[in-house]
């Protein structure tokens, strides 16, 4: 493998195995990144770099120690193994940590590229964004401020552990972020869009970047010119896939992370409304029977795609809420052992210098059986929140809020005028219990999920079909 020194990684594992460890693993990681930053039509900078290094995680005396370095020498390997071993023993835990049982396996997996990212020149990358910017500002809309960042990463990993597992992987990813401000009559409206893909340069064909950004600018202009304030009250709310997706991520994916449920994130990302001996646990009802939310790392070319997690566990879809019932948490080996089950492969780290923790991959509402027209035609008065701007949720993942970016008033099944930033502020239980209809087609949006300390921004998809909520308070 380029960028990785397998010999040093193997040496580190062998050296660790010579100590009184209950478990040890070495994860080597090499990432070639190319990124460009543009603002207001000007290329600020183009940055190209390779980062590679490795980490050692040791379980000894029921504690965990972790150390990493980007110095590829056997002497350095010894140093970090010694530190990780010392740190593991330093924990002096009353409740000893154990990992759920796993068999050893050998695997080599990669994501294919139809158009190889490495073959795309910097000139082409720059021109792609310059052209998009030119097209965007030539629409007769005052897009007063534009900020784009765009990057590719080619990631190789090599994982070995004391149980005999050996896993190699290669994942190319392409990601982009755009933030625009449209100003009309002195009034600004803003929007951001994120794009993400695991695979080759063919991502650009799928994204339809220019089209999407122009559409976004037109939406903002329309909001400024035509949007009316909503009269607050109880009404039906139709959520577009973007809104269904963020709700699935925030109020299903996060509270179903077993490390939060068991308290390991209590000081940062928080806990969960789901906890042992609480009101909500496995098999408890949380939504209506049409609500099924899945987290699936195996969606081809998704931003959150992987075949084996960073503990070497084979990836599979996880049905989190199934037919409105809490069904399965997201686990790593540590949390799975605490609940006496097997890991379902949700352990991920953003780089070699970060521990792998429980993460989502691609979290989305499963499609239902209704046409989009049927969803709308039955709404007498309500709101269609196609996309969102401000959003947040409390740290037990129960009190959430989504503010519409592109939103319309619905009357007798017809879309009427745009609405100025309508708001739904409600609980997880009320949101998912109010859903009575789900459309057939799932769409995905790329996102960077935040968790961990230090923060590990993880590529994920959010997504869903169009969903309809009955009788919720919109303001």
């Amino acid at each position: 493998m380029k960028g990785l020194n397998k010999d040093v990684a193997d040496f580190a594992l062998k050296y660790a195995s010579g100590k009184k460890v209950e478990y040890a693993e070495v994860r080597a990681h090499s990432e070639k990144t190319d990124s460009l930053m543009m603002k207001n039509g000007v290329l600020d900078a183009y940055v190209s770099a390779v980062d590679s290094g490795f980490c050692v995680r040791i379980l000894a005396e029921g504690g965990i120690g972790f150390a990493s370095t980007n110095k590829w020498t056997k002497d350095e390997a010894k140093v970090i193994v010694d530190i990780a071993y010392k740190y593991a023993k330093m924990a002096k835990r009353k409740d000893k940590i154990v990992f759920a049982e796993e068999k050893s396996l050998k695997a080599n997996w990669k994501v294919d590229e139809k158009k190889r990212v490495e073959n795309v020149s910097p000139e082409t990358r720059i021109e792609t964004w310059m052209e998009m910017d030119k097209a965007l500002v030539s629409q007769g809309i005052n897009v007063a401020a534009r900020m784009f960042s765009f990057g590719t990463s080619l990631t190789e990993k090599y994982f070995v552990n004391t149980e005999g597992s050996v896993i190699s992987s290669y994942v190319p990813r392409i990601g982009a972020y755009a933030f625009i401000t449209v100003v009309q009559n002195g009034k600004p409206e803003q929007s951001y869009k994120q794009f993400g893909y695991a695979g080759g340069w063919e991502a650009l064909d799928r994204w339809k970047l220019t089209e999407e950004m122009i559409k976004e600018a037109k939406v903002l202009q329309k909001v400024i010119k035509e949007a009316k304030a909503i009269k607050p009250g109880k009404m039906d709310l139709v959520c577009g896939s973007e809104v269904a997706g963020i709700a699935a991520h925030e109020s299903c994916g996060h509270p179903m992370e077993a490390d939060r449920i068991l308290g390991r994130e209590m000081s940062q990302a928080g806990r969960s409304f789901i906890y042992p001996n609480g009101s909500f646990w496995l098999e408890t009802k949380i939504g209506s029977s049409v609500v099924t939310i899945v987290d699936d790392p195996t969606v081809k070319n998704s931003y959150g795609y992987y075949e084996y997690d960073d503990e070497g566990i084979k990836a599979r879809p996880r049905y989190l809420y199934k037919n409105g019932v809490i069904n399965e948490f997201l686990h790593n080996r540590e949390t799975a052992a605490k609940l006496d089950i097997r890991s379902n492969g949700a352990s991920r780290a953003i780089n070699y210098d970060r521990e792998a923790i429980v993460r989502m991959a691609n979290t989305f509402v499963q499609p239902g059986d209704m046409n989009e027209e049927e969803i709308f035609e039955d709404v007498k008065q309500g709101v269609y929140m196609k996309s969102f701007t401000e959003w947040n949720i409390d740290d037990k993942r129960f009190n959430q809020r989504y503010v519409g970016r592109e939103a319309y008033w619905i009357e007798d099944g017809e879309l009427k005028h745009p609405l100025a930033r309508p708001v739904i502020e409600t609980t997880t239980q009320n949101f998912w219990s109010s859903v009575d209809a789900v459309s057939k087609k799932v769409e995905y949006d790329a996102a960077t999920c935040g968790k961990g300390d230090p923060q590990q921004g993880m590529p994920v998809y959010t997504g869903g079909p169009i969903i309809r909520l009955r009788g919720v308070h919109v303001k």
Binding site: A45, Y46, S52, M147, T181, Q190, V403, T426
Partner: protein, 441 residues
């Protein structure tokens, strides 16, 4: 001259020899140690060593960058970088890197931190202190982080210097009940004066007071913000003073230089002072980092600049580079003339909010946003804490809030927590009128 500086300078020389117009190389040798704990036990201790040189090069106003790890493949990497500059695009807004020789304050990493062998004892101190306040059955979690970094910067334009930084920070959250929690932090650049138990005590005290919370009530309130919550607010306001944020309109301060943006008791500075966990002696162009007054008595005095943004705004760099984006280092709000107790006595019917998270904007230019108070949320009646609340959201406007500050305490605390109270700051208790509180339905 240290070996690190010599090798960093060599990268600059080789880049210049290839034909680069301007080059900056900054080498960081960082050693970071973190212990994470939850449920009163240590979950993991982590060490990461980072050996990296950031190289930025300009050729005919084309700006490109890369990283060199542990001084490996220097020739190859620099050549590739220079080739990249040739196919990149001119940045007409590029104003060059800072020129001149500068004298820097001497910096020295704290010896006690360098020699700290077993930091987990501080975790145990904090946990015990929190449990003493919140009760033996209370649960705590958090992190202890120590960082030591040696930084060498060499610019082809003259600046050359070394900085030796150290920092220690502890963050602890205590739960006296499932929905009753408090948060405390302790931060500094040296071990002297670092009191882990103080953070634990504060977390525990708040958690104890927060017991049996009731659902909050929507409305507009006078609010006292604890310094930890204030750290999030300062981070929000401070980041918006970056000229980059202004240029892309992610700021409430667009076109407001010289204008009133806050009530007249507000003075906001950026200062990379020695006490701060973000202490530093120069910015990423090698310009001496210094104190800048951002808002003086309510008037917006300056944006934060690097050389390029300063040129666009026809002013001088403030020593806050970021090659692309100027950034605040350590924000300070000037203290007021009231004690914490006097501040509380001003509130007839209001709230005391101790911490927050998940701040998100619907429009940065207008300042409309919301954030979610967490940990202790208290109703104040006639200056006294009356009851504990939960499940509320602060839904308001960042500019309006700055203008509604009506009182500041004499005492201030240096705070930094995760990515919420970030960048680090020095914050008094803040009394603000007419803050809008909403709740879920």
């Amino acid at each position: 001259m240290s070996e690190l500086l010599v090798r960093t300078e060599e990268i600059v020389k080789r880049s210049k020899a290839l034909g680069a117009d301007e080059v900056i190389a900054k080498t960081t040798f960082g050693r970071y140690r973190q212990t994470r704990f939850s449920n009163n036990q240590i979950d993991i201790s982590v060490a990461w060593n980072d050996y990296v040189t950031d190289v930025v090069l300009a050729w005919k106003k084309r700006v490109v960058g890369t990283q060199i790890r542990n001084f490996q493949n220097v020739d190859q990497t620099v050549k590739r970088l220079f080739e990249l500059s040739k196919v990149s695009k001119e940045n007409p807004m590029y104003g060059g890197f800072a020129k001149g020789k500068f004298r820097y304050h001497k910096s020295k990493a704290d010896e006690a931190l360098v020699n700290l062998d077993n930091p987990v004892e501080y975790v145990f101190d904090a946990v015990e202190a929190a449990k003493k306040e919140a009760g033996p059955d209370s649960e705590t979690g958090g992190i202890l982080l120590t960082s030591l970094s040696d930084i060498c910067l060499v610019s082809s334009e003259g600046p050359m210097g070394e900085d030796h930084r150290s920092a220690i920070e502890l963050s602890i959250r205590a739960f006296s009940q499932r929905e009753a929690s408090g948060h405390g932090v302790e931060c500094g650049s040296a071990l002297k004066g670092f009191d882990a138990a103080r953070a634990g005590r504060k977390a525990g005290e708040i958690a104890k007071q927060a017991k049996d919370p009731k659902a909050g009530v929507e409305g507009r309130y006078d609010v006292i913000f604890d310094p930890l919550f204030g750290g999030s607010l300062l981070g929000m306001w401070g980041s918006m003073t970056s000229a980059y944020s202004v240029m892309i309109q992610m700021s409430i301060f667009v076109d407001k230089l010289g204008q009133r943006v806050a009530s007249d008791n507000v003075t906001l500075r950026d200062s990379p002072a020695p006490y701060s966990v973000a202490n530093r002696v120069f910015d990423d162009e090698g310009v001496p980092a210094k104190e800048n007054v951002l808002i003086r008595k309510g008037l917006l005095k300056t944006y934060l600049h690097n050389t390029s943004t300063a040129r666009i705004f026809k002013t001088e760099t403030t020593g806050n580079a970021g090659i692309i984006s100027p950034t605040p280092w350590n924000l300070e709000m000037d203290s007021g003339d009231m004690s914490r107790e006097e501040l509380f006595s001003e509130v007839k019917h209001g709230l005391y909010l101790t911490n927050t998270w998940y701040t998100r904007f619907q429009n940065y230019a207008t300042g409309d946003f919301s954030t979610i108070p967490r940990d202790g949320i208290f109703l104040i009646e006639e200056g006294e804490i009356k009851e504990s609340w939960k499940d509320i959201r602060l839904s308001d406007n960042a500019l309006k809030m700055l203008n509604n500050i009506i009182g500041l305490s004499k005492e201030r605390q240096h705070v930094h927590w995760w990515s919420e109270a970030d960048p680090p700051s020095l914050v008094p208790y803040i009394l603000m009128k007419d803050v809008r509180i909403t709740r879920p339905r």
